[in-house]
């Protein structure tokens, strides 16, 4: 096995495998850009073009892991739930993104 592959395998031990699914990486990528502002559920559904059920299930799972926090509020009288990435979520996503970039090199 070459050195690059060995190095990638070693680095992978520090990663959280539970974020390595396409919906979760896409959600974290979108929320990473928005920081503490986050996005509402309806914005995530409209913007990411994934089924509502998939988005909801993965948001809830990542909330359990502590990578996302939800917040209830209102927008012009309409009840709304928004989600933002936590510091821990940012760190885990950045680790995953850097590892994937190395994989592609």
């Amino acid at each position: 096995m070459d050195e690059k592959t060995i190095s990638l395998i070693d680095a992978s031990k520090a990663l959280e495998p539970r974020i390595f699914s396409l919906p979760r990486l896409i959600l974290l990528n979108a929320l990473r850009d928005l920081g503490p502002d986050g996005a509402s559920f309806r914005e995530l559904v409209a913007g990411l073009k994934m089924p509502e059920g998939v988005i909801f299930a993965n948001l809830k799972a990542m909330e359990q892991l502590g990578y996302i926090e939800s917040e209830s509020g209102h927008l012009e009288g309409t009840k709304m739930t928004s989600f933002h990435i936590t510091k821990r979520g940012e760190e885990e996503f950045d680790k995953a993104r850097n590892w994937l970039r190395r994989l592609g090199d």
Binding site: L34, D37, G47, G73, L75
Partner: protein
């Protein structure tokens, strides 16, 4: 250069509450600055299209970091008469309504930032923000045009012709709402 003092001075001028806890208010805080930038007020903070439309992560970062010093920082910046007038125009035209600001800012960024044709910009708006009614979209677009578009007579006639189907759709949508709610 990013100038949070000027941002806070503008918020104070137009009466935007310095409150980061409310989702609705956070929309107002982002989109007012986006629109003022498109109107020509210089203060740094580059906006690009993100999931939520035109957005500036650096602005969010500075707002959250420095909101505790709002009054002190707002006082540090002196707005020019032109900037005060633009801030006033934004407030009076939009009523600082979050949905109107969001749609107006997105329309403005698409047409004046990304150079999309107005009809294409509206198509994008309808696709990316399907939770807004046609009436809300055309209302927001109208606000965007009032703030950002100062056409010649010929340009205005050409635009009216291009926008006629959308205006008719908005009127039909409004009529349905009137009938539905017995207004």
């Amino acid at each position: 250069m990013d100038d949070i003092s000027k941002v806070f001075a503008l918020y104070r001028e137009i009466g935007v509450t310095p409150d980061t806890k409310s989702f609705e208010n956070r929309i107002v805080m982002q989109k007012t600055i986006c629109l003022l930038k498109l109107m020509g007020v210089k203060m740094g903070y580059q906006f690009s299209m993100y999931l939520r439309g035109p957005y500036c992560p650096a602005l969010t970062k500075d707002i959250f970091a420095k909101i505790g010093m709002f009054n002190a920082l707002a006082k540090k910046s002196r707005l020019s008469p032109d900037e005060i007038e633009k801030a006033k125009e934004l407030k009076e035209t939009s009523g600082l309504k979050a949905s109107s600001l969001e749609i107006a800012a997105t329309y403005g960024q698409l047409v004046f930032g990304s150079k999309k044709r107005p009809k294409e910009a509206i198509d994008i708006l309808r696709r990316e923000k399907p939770f807004y009614s046609m009436y809300q979209i055309m209302d927001g677009v109208s606000i965007g045009k009032q703030l950002l578009f100062h056409p010649s007579k010929e340009q205005l006639e050409a635009l009216k012709r291009e926008m006629k189907p959308w205006d008719q759709a908005a009127d039909a949508d409004f009529a349905k709402q009137v009938e539905k709610h017995n207004l």
